[in-house]
Structure formats: C-alpha cells, structure tokens
Amino acid sequence: MFDNLIARAIVPVTIAVTGFVIFVCILLYSFVKSDMTAEALRNVNNCADTVVKSTRSAMMEDDQRAIQDIVSNIGTRPSVELIRIYDQEGQVQYAGEEKQGVQSETVETHIANFLQADFATKKQDQRDIDHSSGNITVSLPILNEPKCSTAACHFHADDEPVLGYFSIAVTSGALEKTLAVLRYRMMIFSVMVLFLTIGGVTALLRMNLFLPILRLTYNAEQAAQGVTEPDLPKSDHKLGKLNKDFRLLVKQRDQALEDLKALEVPDGNVDDGSDKS
C-alpha cells in the first residue's frame, strides 16, 4: 500500500515535469535555431550585396580584369566556399576559388529558378542553408539601374530588368558550433531542472507525508500486537487529527481491557451483573 502511495504521488509529477521540460527545451531550441539561421542568412545576404556594390564600378567600365580580381580575392577567404557571377543567360562569367565538397547544385538551382521566374520573383534573393553539410548559399540578381542603362561605354537597355546573377556560398561552421554549444547547455539545464524539481517534490512529500504515514503504520502494527498507548513511540503532529484519534482509539481499547480485567471474578469467570446475595 505504501509503495503504491509513493508511486501515485511521484510518478505523475515525474512524467509531467520531465515531459514538459523536454518539450519546452526542444521548442525553445527550435525557436533559437530558426532566429540564428535567419540572422546568419541576413548577414551573408548583406555581404553579397556589398560585393555586388563594390564590383558595380568595374562593371560600369567593363573592366573584366578588375571584376575577376575582386571575385578571386574574395574567393581566397577560408570561409568562402564558392563565389560566382552569372550573365543574363545563366552562364558563369567570373568565378573564385572553389573549395572541395561544395554543393554547387544549390547555386545551379537558384540560377535555374531565377531564369524561370517572372519579373517580380526575379528581383527576390534566394537563400539556402544546409545544416548537415554546413553551407549557407545566397544568390541575388544584379539589377539594372538608371546609371547602367545610360552608361556610354557599356550599356544595357531600359527593358532589361536583370543584368546577371551573383552567388556566394560560405561555411556555416561557426553557426553550427554555436548551435551545438546551445544544445549541450540546454541539455545540462534541463537535467538540472529535472533533478531539482523531482528531488524537491520527493523530499517535501517524504518529509511531510511519507515519513509520518510510515510512523503511523508502525504504531498501528505495534498497537495490533498489544502494545499499550503510553508505550507507543511518540509521533509528530504532521498528520494532525488522524494521529491524535488513533492514539485515542488505542487508549480506549486499553481502558476497555482494564475494565474487563477488573470485572473478571477471581475464579476466572466474568461477572454477569446478577445479584447473588
């Protein structure tokens, strides 16, 4: 009975707390991962935009050597895995050093999407993140601006909305590392919360409920074996009236036994109360 009492008190608390802490941690990790990924993509997008802006002057002057130098220099950075500039037909015009294991399929898919898309979609950047291989890929269109279409040396017509495409892939190693650290910290935090909650609840229940009940059970056993009320171990007052009433019952039983003994006649028979005189 006592084992069941412990189980009934602790099992639901354990299931509820454990499950809810794990669930909230997974959900929180999902939120943080999504926010950090979005931030990383925004950063790479800004970098890509900066590169496009920095090559614009060389593009205006049709200085192909300068454009190739810019692209090659950026490509030598260890974190840059791929850098390419495509023309309007989706052909690679300039490319930097490409690291091994780069998934250029993602970039090709971006360019294919650009070529198939309508005018509104063509203007939107395309972003991709592959957590398993640790790549962030961003592709953006190089849009026609008034100073491009009016340039004397190398011009594009007004009705050409997009002049080419720029793609860059950088490693997401730093992001993955931060996410891994966050994961471990959350796991440690969850385990600590679980131990503290379940340990705290168990300690409080044991102190205020289980131990007083154990003492009362022991007293009941002793009383059943014939121990009188004064000889019963002293008990605390955590069970309140229940303990007092139990001791009162034992006391009344002791009193009844004493009365019974007093009524016993010396020859061993109980006085039936009839007047024999």
Partner: protein, 170 residues
C-alpha cells in the same frame, strides 16, 4: 424457534449470477484500464509515419491543395502547441487530483495528429517532430497512467466484493 431445525430455515438466494456479474465487470474494467496504452501505441505508430514525413501516403492532388490553402506559419503552430501542451497537462493533473473518470484520450490523439498534419502542410515537420512527439508522449503517458490507476482501483473494489461473495458461498 428450534435452532436445530434446518428445514424451517429460509434457503439462501443463489449468489452465482451475482458472482458472474462481478466477474464480467472485472473483465470489462481490465479492458478499460488498458485503453490508455492502446492510444499511446496508436500515437507511436502515427509518430513513426510523421518521422518519415508521411512519405508512404500518396501526395495530395493540386485541386485539394488549392482548396485547403496555404498552411499556417510555423511560429503560430509552435505557439498553439505550447499552449495546448501546457493546458492538456494541467487538465489531466486536475482530473487526477479530483479522482474524476478519465476522458479525452482519443481527443488528445486527434489534436496531436492535427499538429503533425499542420506541420506537414507548412513544411516544418522535420524541425518540429521531436517537440510534438515529446509533448504527445507526456500527455498520453499521463493520461494512460490516470486511466490505469483509476480502473485499477475499481477492479480492486470489485475483487473485494467477489471475495465477500466467495465467503458467503463457502
């Protein structure tokens, strides 16, 4: 009255039908006590399908997809899941504390299945599968524990009645 005259005593009513009734009730309660586990098993099977992103099911036709419309944003589903998980756990704990007859396990299974479907249609099931699975396991685990506990007590009550009847029969 002569206590030795057994012929004049009124015969005891036949308690065998009553015993059989109690035994049938115990069997019924035993069946009911395992319903929580059955629903938990059903949820595990559904989760195995969700883990594979329901790739074994035929894809929905374009017309049905258009009729259904775009899935809700994932952050809204996450918020709804958090509120649902918290409320469901509190609800079951309240039921347990007030010793009420357990109910709503099938409803919880339906809600969790709907969350899997919403994530599936919003293309966020891979990222959020473990969140739904852990909250589902918690809710249905608590529910099945409550079901088992509640009916186990009822079975014990009936077993005591059966014992008394057996004593009478002896």
């Amino acid at each position: 009255m002569d206590p030795t005259n057994h012929e004049t005593e009124a015969p005891l009513p036949d308690i065998n039908p009553l015993r059989m009734q109690v035994q049938a009730k115990i069997k019924k309660l035993e069946l009911l006590s395992s319903t929580g586990l059955w629903i938990l098993a059903l949820f595990t099977a559904l989760s195995m399908g969700a883990l594979r992103d329901f790739d074994f099911l035929p894809p929905l036709s374009e017309s049905i997809r258009v009729a259904l419309g775009a899935g809700p944003p994932i952050k809204y589903i996450n918020g709804a899941l958090l509120i649902y998980g918290f409320s469901a756990i509190i609800l079951i704990l309240t039921q347990m504390a007030s010793d009420k007859k357990p109910s709503g396990a099938l409803g919880h299974f339906g809600y969790l299945g709907a969350f899997y479907l919403f994530y599936h249609f919003s293309e966020g099931l891979r990222e959020n599968f473990w969140a739904v699975f852990s909250v589902g396991l918690t809710i249905l685990g608590l529910q099945s524990y409550h079901v088992w506990n509640y009916y186990h007590e009822k079975i014990q009550e009936q077993a005591e009645i059966l014992l008394e009847l057996d004593k009478l029969l002896d």
